[in-house]
């Protein structure tokens, strides 16, 4: 059994680790802290804007792969990955997380956000899809006074003033409830905590008694036929908490993702991590990979230094899933010098003026990254892989800002599966 070392535990790293373990590899997953999944919205974006609103993401991917890119410009990672890799990746993810993700690569959901925008996404959690907007949908957006990251009035008003892509509008109203997640400090005169996190609510909603109590409070305030939009806090461990609540209420219910901490993101992270562990993946959290050793053009080991001593991990292949700038896979120093922080791999997309004054415009900095070959190996100017057994996946790839075109998850999943399959084939 060959040892593969995966570095990074965001969506790309976790998917790669799972896929490699499925193919029988002995996987070690090294990561500094938890990955970015729980900072995201907890759905799987493939393509949301291109630059107009996308309704069929796989079609948009196909169009992107055919787009002619002027010389010297970056192409979207999808161009190198191809339509098939996206399909295979997304199908794989649906297959490993059947309880958590629904949807099809052929169509985007259009889901309300916590500011009341309508956001396209490809795979969503079952708890979210009742929010897929349609003209004349009657919505009751419900929030909690103790949960500061979700204001139902703002969401409802913004939804109401939005002309839907297909014409028409939803009809939303809001309810702000005084309904506490948990008790206040012991001995305090308070009835409960005033400043609760999404996590506190999610843990509370795991408890059926809490759901019953909540349904009793909310149900009388709802009008017939209303679909209920709630912040995404409907259970952390219990995947059916939302469905149970819907049944208790007698109304369709949907979750709206919040800024971090994202409960839907935590669900995805937990599920992918648990699956990897159950397949025997050895995880080593809390370590940053600081160095590596090369023999004959191959990476043979990477080095961590958890305390005063160092520890090396040898492997037959390595997967670099350290992410983009937000995760530290890429960095820019005070002189403006941009680097891949671990292997010092060659980057593409570097420009003299990497940032510009218009906040809403494209920032070239966030499009730079690695260029890879068909096996997802970073390549240099010659087009040859830098190391024969080093593969890169996810946000570290050049060519897109995932938050703008809503393609980050699709790139992560497609590249992770493609890299894992290339490694498995190579090591077989």
């Amino acid at each position: 059994m060959s040892r593969v070392v995966v570095i990074g535990a965001g969506l790309a790293g976790l998917v790669a680790a799972n896929r490699l373990a499925d193919t029988g590899c002995d996987v070690v997953l090294l990561h500094q802290g938890l990955g970015g999944l729980q900072s995201g919205q907890g759905t799987i974006d493939i393509f949301g804007y291109n630059p107009g609103r996308v309704t069929n993401p796989i079609k948009a991917v196909a169009a992107e792969t055919r787009r002619r890119v002027p010389a010297g410009s970056l192409s979207h990672p999808y161009k190198a990955l191809g339509v098939k890799a996206v399909r295979v990746g997304v199908e794989y993810l649906k297959q490993v997380l059947p309880e958590l993700l629904v949807g099809s690569v052929e169509s985007n959901y259009q889901l309300p956000t916590a500011v009341g925008a309508i956001r396209p996404t490809c795979l969503a959690q079952p708890s979210m899809v009742a929010g897929d907007v349609a003209a004349d949908l009657e919505l009751a957006i419900v929030g909690f006074e103790q949960l500061k990251d979700f204001n139902p009035e703002l969401v409802a008003q913004n939804l109401n003033r939005t002309e839907l892509a297909g014409g028409g509008r939803v009809n939303a109203r809001h309810l702000l409830l005084e309904f506490r997640a948990r008790q206040g400090p012991l001995g305090s005169p308070r009835e409960g905590e005033l400043d609760s996190s999404a996590l506190s609510y999610a843990r509370a909603f795991d408890d059926r008694r809490y759901r019953v109590l909540f349904a009793k409070t909310l149900a009388p305030k709802l009008a017939q036929g209303e679909t209920v939009g709630l912040p995404a806090v409907l259970g952390l461990q219990d995947p059916n908490a939302w469905a149970d609540l819907a049944e208790l209420l007698g109304h369709a219910v949907f979750e709206i993702p919040l800024p971090p901490p994202s409960v839907p993101g935590i669900r995805l992270n937990q599920a992918l991590t648990a699956r990897a562990l159950s397949l025997g993946v050895r995880t080593v959290p809390g370590v940053r990979v600081l160095g590596f050793a090369v023999e004959a053009g191959r990476v043979v080991s990477v080095r961590t230094q958890p305390g005063v001593a160092t520890r090396d991990y040898r492997g037959a292949a390595f997967v670099l899933a350290t992410g983009g700038f937000e995760a530290g896979g890429l960095a820019m120093d005070s002189y403006g010098s941009i680097t891949e922080t671990l292997f010092e791999l060659p980057l593409v997309g570097l420009q003299n003026q990497s940032l510009q004054a218009d906040y809403w415009g494209d920032q070239p900095l966030f499009n730079c990254g690695l260029q890879v070959d068909a096996q997802l190996r970073p390549i240099g100017a010659s087009g040859e892989p830098v190391y024969a057994n080093l593969h890169a996946v996810g946000g570290i790839l050049a060519g897109s800002s995932g938050w703008r075109d809503k393609s980050g998850d699709g790139v992560a999943v497609a590249s992770a599966v493609a890299a894992a399959d290339a490694i498995a084939k190579e090591l077989a």
């Binding site: 500094q32 996190s197 901490p261 935590i266 080593v284 958890p306 305390g307």
Partner: protein, 422 residues
């Protein structure tokens, strides 16, 4: 703060601020915080009580306002379990910042209890020769009630089981192995608990190592100072840890040092350096050579040097990796080694913390919080096997055993059995 208090705390507090090397390092790390909230979601204390504002708040956020002063005493609800630092994707030393802020706070007002429970060796030495009496006292309700009132140690908190014979006494008096040791010598570091309370674990570790062909050296050794450190007494803790380094180095300067005390190993590997800023060649030397015993066995296995002639063991056991072991950046080596025992199914608790966090769960005002933190673990343990659980550090074993009623052993116990040594 008086000079005496400064000496005790090991801090220099200038009129304006806090100055010591460890603090400068951790404070610099707060620059890496991007507020992503991942630490808050994983904090086992914040999950069970609103009394604690959470690691992001008391760590990188509050630190920007502290200026070396202590104004936010609620930070003491932090149990120092280190989960926040472990899960931080940006490398912020959150737990370390909190420990340092606590040290500043304690430097001004140190409860007698925190001094006493920080002195583990002293406690063990006092208790060993009179074990039956000590045990009786610790099981005696009125005495515990009095301890709670006077010292602030909760009456129901788990207490170490005193033994009639210390590990050192056993090691000295036992018959020497007659077989030669083909693999050379290693140094065994038993730690205070392994010396006085968890004597069986130490014995089994030595026997496993000897079974594998190592000569085991046990130099005379003192306390690593961890309990003092976690109670904010950096001065005493620094002295202890450096003295211990001298002790361990006395057995040889190039031998691997092995310990079955996960938390004390963590102190030597990184906490003394990262939290207290101890920058000393002796600590670097020992910190580089020391291995947790399960880590050592896994290294042997990876090198193809671990015999796997383990007895078939049809058993399902819960395993809990303690916080201080997880903080060592080596994953969970026990899980990997135990996988080698045929028939054995080990279920990882996947819980952040048992609640005790060294001495946190002993304290009167923290006891309820600590029990709530550990509850999911206790439930999991009971549901998995009502007779046996595995866990690498002493205080966590006492906590799990006391609160779940399930006998809890070090993973080496399992290896010892599976090698047919017991």
């Amino acid at each position: 703060m008086s000079t005496d208090q400064q000496r005790e705390s090991g801090l220099i507090i200038t009129p304006e601020g806090l100055a010591f090397a460890g603090h400068q390092l951790s404070r610099a790390s707060l620059d890496a915080c991007i507020k992503c909230t991942i630490c808050e979601t994983q904090c086992p204390v914040a999950a069970v009580t609103p009394l604690f504002s959470g690691p992001k708040f008391v760590g990188p956020q509050a630190e920007r306002f502290r200026n070396g002063e202590s104004v936010d005493h609620s930070l003491d609800y932090c149990s120092s379990c280190g989960t926040c630092t472990l899960v931080c994707p940006e490398g912020v030393q959150i737990a370390e910042l909190n420990s340092q802020a606590r040290a500043v706070m304690k430097a001004k007002k140190m409860p007698l209890r925190d001094r006493l429970i920080g002195q583990t060796t002293l406690m063990g030495k006092v208790m060993t020769p009179v074990a039956p009496i000590a045990q009786a006292a610790l099981n005696n309700k009125p005495i515990r009630v009095a301890m709670e009132a006077m010292l602030g140690v909760h009456r129901d908190a788990p207490m170490p089981p005193p033994q009639s014979q210390s590990f050192e006494a056993w090691f000295r008096k036992r018959p020497r192995p007659t077989e030669p040791a083909p693999r050379g010598a290693v140094v065994f570091f038993h730690g205070c608990a392994g010396g006085y309370f968890e004597v069986e674990t130490s014995k089994q570790s030595v026997e496993v190592l000897e079974h594998l062909g190592f000569e085991v050296l046990v130099p005379k050794q003192g306390c690593c100072g961890l309990a003092q450190q976690s109670n904010g007494l950096f001065g005493g803790a620094t002295k202890s840890v450096l003295k211990l380094c001298d002790d361990l180095r006395s057995a040889g300067t190039d031998l691997t040092i092995i310990s079955a005390s996960g938390s004390c190993t963590g102190m030597l590997k990184h906490e003394a350096h990262e939290i207290m800023g101890v920058d000393d060649e002796r600590l670097r030397d020992v910190g580089t050579r020391i291995r947790d015993i399960m880590e050592f066995l896994l290294d042997l296995h990876e090198a193809g040097e671990l015999p796997t002639d383990f007895a078939q063991t049809e058993l399902t056991v819960p395993y809990h990796a303690p916080c201080q072991l997880k903080s060592q950046g080596m994953g969970k080596p026990a899980l990997e080694v135990l996988k080698l025992i045929p028939g054995l199914t080990v279920i990882d608790s996947n819980q952040a913390c048992c609640g005790i966090a060294g001495t946190y769960g002993l304290k009167k005002e923290k006891y309820e919080v600590a029990q709530a933190v550990g509850q999911p673990l206790f439930d999991m343990v009971k549901a998995t096997n009502s007779e046996l659980a595995l866990c690498d550090t002493e205080t966590c074993r006492w906590q799990i055993e006391k609160s779940s009623g399930v006998r809890t052993e070090h993973p080496i116990w399992m290896i010892h059995h599976a090698y047919g040594l017991s």
